[in-house]
């Protein structure tokens, strides 16, 4: 259990480094805010319309696909570690699981959710 101490310490130390870097540059850099300077940067053009507009639903679909498939990938990790011990039984079980996964995958493909237009 005490091996996890290293992870805790590196997360604390690296956040400290991040805060220090941002903090130091906050005090060192000069600041002369102007109205135009604080506008969103669009290569010199005046911004038209709101900056946070509605975004394509495509991103949402890919996020959902990712959730489903990534959980299935994670499910394979414990199996992969003990494949050698499980022998043929483990292989057949996982093969059935992968076939079910692939049925879902090809269904998604046929439905056109993997197209990006």
């Amino acid at each position: 259990m005490k091996e996890y101490l290293g992870i805790l310490i590196i997360i604390l130390l690296s956040s400290l480094v991040a805060i220090l870097i941002v903090g130091i540059s906050y005090f060192l850099g000069e600041r002369k805010p102007k109205k135009v300077k604080l506008l969103p940067y669009e290569c010199g053009m005046t911004t038209i319309g709101p900056s946070r507009r509605r975004i394509s639903v495509k991103y949402y679909i890919f996020a959902m696909l990712f959730l489903i498939f990534d959980i299935e990938v994670l499910f394979m990790y414990p199996w992969a570690v003990i494949t050698k011990d499980l022998k043929l039984f483990g292989f057949v079980e996982m093969f059935i699981f992968i076939v079910i996964l692939l049925i879902g995958y090809f269904y998604v493909w046929r439905k056109g959710a993997l197209e990006w237009e």
């Binding site: 005490k2 091996e3 996890y4 101490l5 290293g6 992870i7 310490i9 590196i10 997360i11 130390l13 690296s14 956040s15 480094v17 991040a18 805060i19 870097i21 941002v22 130091i24 540059s25 906050y26 060192l28 850099g29 000069e30 002369k32 300077k37 604080l38 506008l39 969103p40 940067y41 669009e42 290569c43 911004t47 900056s51 946070r52 507009r53 975004i55 991103y59 890919f62 996020a63 696909l65 498939f69 990534d70 990938v73 994670l74 394979m76 990790y77 992969a80 570690v81 003990i82 494949t83 050698k84 499980l86 043929l88 483990g90 992968i98 692939l102 993997l114 197209e115 990006w116 237009e117």
Partner: protein, 328 residues
């Protein structure tokens, strides 16, 4: 007393690893510029010190003294926190990567890894995914159309390739029978896993390019379309942090490739840590080389490659590997 010694040991290892990692990440910017320049028959930076060796330091000092602009319609707390999340996640990835075997100092046997945990690989992927939060928050909170678009593209691309990345390394897990990175390296004492899993290594490298948002998959910062991508509104050291995190992430991904496929610290004659560094920088060189060689893909081509080509191929590799391991 033993606990105290252990605490001191972990602290020292942490400080050394973070310092070395930050040094390498800073100098990687120079290496990248130099290599790119040489490939394009230019000199690259050569004004700051001999052969431009002080360039990263000059860049760093300059960024510290630059004006810090927070755009008026930015979400201020998120805007400030985003680069911190990215750099914290990138540095924390180094915690489980073994950079050498064992060292005997003052009669203590010190393992050359910060945290020798059994779920090393899972932790590494968790941290890699955490970095994406920083990218999305950074783009969204700056209140800029290009920023939002760039960050969404980055996120969609990273999560798409993460599935294939996770699947590609399952072959290594089957062969080594462990998720502890030290044990994976030790399983490669006789033969590196790249010999048994050459296909998985190629798939891993392709996914790594997408995961790092590097050319030919550098959509999030496609200059011709998005100006600069998710970090468009960032200035001074906050911009530098995004940059810095990208290079730290690159080192971590290269180190993971070394650990999983190239036998980590194993190698003849030279000390283990040196072998490890040589292999890491070889992979980093490939990253830079590819950037100088290949043009950028279109976004729909990237998504198509990720979901319709890489995903089935990694599944196929997984089934074939499992079949041969069980039948043997």
């Amino acid at each position: 007393m033993e606990t105290l010694y252990f605490l001191i040991e972990v602290l020292i290892k942490n400080v050394v690893v973070i310092a070395v990692l930050m040094f390498f990440a800073a100098y990687l910017t120079l290496i990248e510029r130099k290599v790119l320049a040489r490939i394009q028959i230019r000199y690259g930076p050569n004004r700051a010190g001999p052969f431009g060796i002080l360039q990263p330091i000059a860049d760093g000092i300059k960024s510290f003294f630059k004006e810090e602009i927070i755009p008026e319609n930015a979400d201020k707390p998120l805007y400030v926190i985003a680069p911190m999340i990215v750099i914290t996640a990138a540095i924390s990835m180094a915690a489980v990567i073994p950079f050498g075997d064992k060292l005997v100092l003052f009669g203590r046997e010190i393992k050359l890894v910060i945290a020798d945990v059994d779920v090393g690989l899972l932790y590494l992927f968790a941290m890699a995914s955490l970095g994406e939060y920083g990218v999305v928050l950074g783009g969204w909170s700056s209140g800029n159309k290009y920023g939002v678009l760039g960050s969404l593209r980055a996120a969609a691309q990273m999560i798409s390739y993460e599935v294939s990345l996770g699947l590609a390394i399952i072959g290594v897990l089957i062969l080594s029978g462990s998720m502890n990175l030290r044990e994976i390296v030790n399983a490669q004492k006789e033969m590196w896993f790249i010999v048994y899993q050459p296909f998985a290594f190629i798939l891993y490298m392709i996914c790594a390019f997408a995961e790092l948002n590097r050319a030919p998959f550098d959509m999030p910062e496609a200059e011709s379309e998005l100006a600069c991508g998710f970090n468009i509104e960032y200035s001074s050291m906050k911009f530098a942090l995004f940059f810095f995190a990208e290079y730290t992430h690159m080192l971590a991904v290269a180190a993971l490739a070394t650990t999983l496929f190239l036998g980590g610290w194993h190698g003849p004659y030279l000390p283990g840590t040196l072998w490890f560094l040589i292999k890491v920088f070889l992979i980093v060189f490939v990253f830079i080389w590819v950037r100088a060689t290949y043009p950028r893909l279109r976004y729909d081509q990237i998504m198509k490659l990720g979901w319709k080509v890489l995903f089935p191929l990694t599944i196929l590799n997984l089934i074939v590997t499992a079949f041969f391991v069980t039948v043997r």
